[in-house]
């Protein structure tokens, strides 16, 4: 074998990438600077820890005595999530399909993508503020806000899923002389169906979580109750609400696992 050559010894196995180093340095500098803005100091941390401990202490035991209020808000949240998801998903399908660049020409994908971008831009709570103004307090505003959010999410992912499908399978079906519709039905739909069910269940999940929050601006659901429990410092009730929320969302997660299994 070759004896250890001098030329080899001089070669550097790990040349320095100055760009990467510079980026890391910038990132580090930013973190230091930005943490400075937080106004963090020892006293505040200690006081905060004290409050936190206090709060935790007052959270146990959770107080379920106002269960009817809890149940009512929870139900409304669920209803908001269900209706928003149903309408949102229904609208997302065509919009997402129109936005897929491997299926549609640019003059169709562009407006579709713009619509999706607008729907995604604003947090559901902000959208809810607008809808509360338009249709008043209550579930309807929440539903409308979450429909917008659903479109922004599902239509986008759906379009991406369509863009990511294996074109080989599409090509194979096309090579049989199938019409456009048949190509979609037999090569696009089977490839995206399972993923779509995945997005849809995720969105229901996410709508459920968000429906617990649009209440903060008056758009119905448990959020209003939670918000005022916070403001009243009823931390034991807050704990009860949070526990119920997590339980419902966990249950939803198992349900969605099952649904995904069915449509895998």
């Amino acid at each position: 074998m070759t004896p250890s050559s001098t030329s080899a010894a001089k070669r550097d196995p790990f040349p320095v990438n100055w760009w990467t180093r510079a980026l890391w340095a910038v990132a580090l500098a930013y973190v230091v600077y930005a943490f400075g803005l937080l106004d963090l100091n020892w006293d505040r941390m200690v006081a905060g820890m004290g409050h936190g401990g206090d709060m935790l202490a007052r959270m146990v035991p959770p107080n379920f005595s106002r269960w009817s209020l809890l149940l009512e808000g929870m139900l409304e949240s669920l209803e908001i999530a269900v209706l928003a998801s149903a309408v949102g998903i229904l609208l997302s399908l065509p919009i997402g399909f129109l936005a897929a660049r491997n299926m549609m020409p640019p003059w169709i994908t562009w407006p579709a993508r713009a619509l999706i971008a607008i729907c995604r831009s604003f947090h559901p709570v902000i959208v809810a503020i607008i809808f509360v103004k338009a249709v008043g307090f209550g579930a309807l505003a929440g539903i409308l806000a979450l429909i917008v959010a659903s479109i922004g999410f599902i239509a986008k992912l759906f379009a991406e899923a369509i863009e990511e499908i294996s074109l080989k399978q599409v090509e194979a079906v096309r090579a049989t002389g199938a019409s456009f519709g048949n190509v979609i039905i037999f090569s696009v739909v089977p490839q995206v169906l399972a993923r779509f069910v995945g997005f849809a269940t995720y969105q229901i999940d996410s709508n459920l979580r968000n429906s617990t929050m649009v209440g903060i601006v008056g758009a119905g659901g448990i959020g209003g109750t939670l918000f005022s429990a916070f403001q009243r410092f009823d931390y034991d009730f807050v704990a009860a609400i949070l526990i119920s929320l997590i339980a419902v969302i966990m249950a939803g997660e198992y349900l969605s696992i099952w649904v995904k299994e069915v449509f895998k």
């Binding site: 006081a47 338009a134 307090f137 008056g218 209003g224 109750t225 918000f227 005022s228 009243r232």
Partner: protein, 315 residues
């Protein structure tokens, strides 16, 4: 625009009769006669508690008007006022300060305040500091962190601006105004040391202490104002006159059941008031600091703040 006089009201309203509140639309086709009445109470306190508390009245209102009455809980004064302006809210209890905005911006017509046969309920503006703090008078608060609640609040913002200068403390000049959002947040902020002091409504503070949220003994009250009326109850100006008559009747005849009396500190009925008469003192407060309960008023206030901020920056 054929409106003769409008006062502080927004351009979409008219006040021909000079009672300072919006007149019903002259065009009967604009009168609303909704199938469902939406009712709510000021969001300062636990909406759920109040919804339950107002249940007897809600039923009574249904009985009197023959309409379904829904209680929606709201989370902010502004949202409540906006809702009435949009026709999404028909009958509502507004906080003292926001009542002015409700009248001017949302066409609310106040008609009652909780009270007894003799008088309506009142509350004071108090300034709280931590007991172990060195502050004894308002003047001690110069250069300190003082939290107001929200711009439209009477006791949490407007009254302090009107009343403090006489005590040697000019909000905005002697200290930078921080908005906490709500009375209870101001109290909590003082408790946790985030703020040095805060002007808050006495009834909110009292209730928080009773609930055990804070310990009253941890605080010192260094200022107490004269009495103001508590929340007003109002209806939307564009409701059908027949409906308005029934609503007025309901407010006039309703008597609080014992439980409701408990919740509302002994009040047993709605005491009739008018905005022109009974909110005079509140308007006076606002006026004395050059504020109007309308957009322009807030505008001016914002401008002043901005100028001050700019000056500070320049220094």
């Amino acid at each position: 625009d054929d409106c003769q006089s409008r006062g502080s009201l927004d351009v979409i309203y008219c006040d021909a009769d000079g009672d300072l509140v919006a007149d019903a639309p002259t065009d009967p086709s604009k009168w609303r006669d909704p199938s469902t009445l939406v009712f709510t109470y000021t969001p300062v306190e636990d909406p759920a508690v109040y919804r339950d508390a107002f249940k007897p009245f809600q039923d009574y209102l249904t009985e009197k008007t023959g309409k379904k009455v829904i209680y929606y809980t709201v989370q902010s004064n502004a949202a409540e006022i906006e809702a009435m302006r949009s026709g999404r809210l028909h009958v509502a209890g507004f906080s003292t300060g926001p009542t002015g905005f409700a009248v001017n911006l949302a066409g609310a017509v106040p008609l009652a305040v909780k009270g007894t046969e003799q008088e309506f309920q009142g509350y004071n503006l108090i300034v709280i500091v931590k007991k172990d703090s060195p502050f004894q008078t308002l003047a001690d608060l110069k250069g300190k962190k003082v939290a107001h609640t929200s711009p439209s609040s009477n006791s949490g913002n407007l009254a302090p601006r009107a009343l403090f200068p006489d005590q040697g403390l000019v909000p905005g000049d002697d200290y930078e105004v921080l908005y906490s959002g709500k009375h209870d947040q101001s109290v909590l902020g003082v408790n946790s040391g985030d703020y040095d002091a805060a002007p808050v409504a006495s009834d909110v503070f009292k209730r928080m202490a009773e609930r055990g949220v804070v310990n009253a003994d941890d605080f010192r009250i260094i200022y107490t104002s004269p009495k103001f009326p508590t929340s007003s109850f109002a209806y939307a100006h564009d409701l059908h006159p027949d409906l308005v008559a029934k609503i007025r009747e309901a407010f006039r005849d309703f008597r609080f059941p014992p439980e409701m009396q408990n919740t509302f500190g002994g009040a047993d009925r709605f005491f009739p008031v008018t905005y022109k008469e009974d909110w005079g003192v509140i308007r006076q407060i606002a006026k004395s600091i050059g504020e109007e309960y309308d957009r322009k008023g807030l505008d001016d206030m914002a401008k002043k703040e901005a100028e001050k901020a700019a000056k500070k920056k320049a220094n």
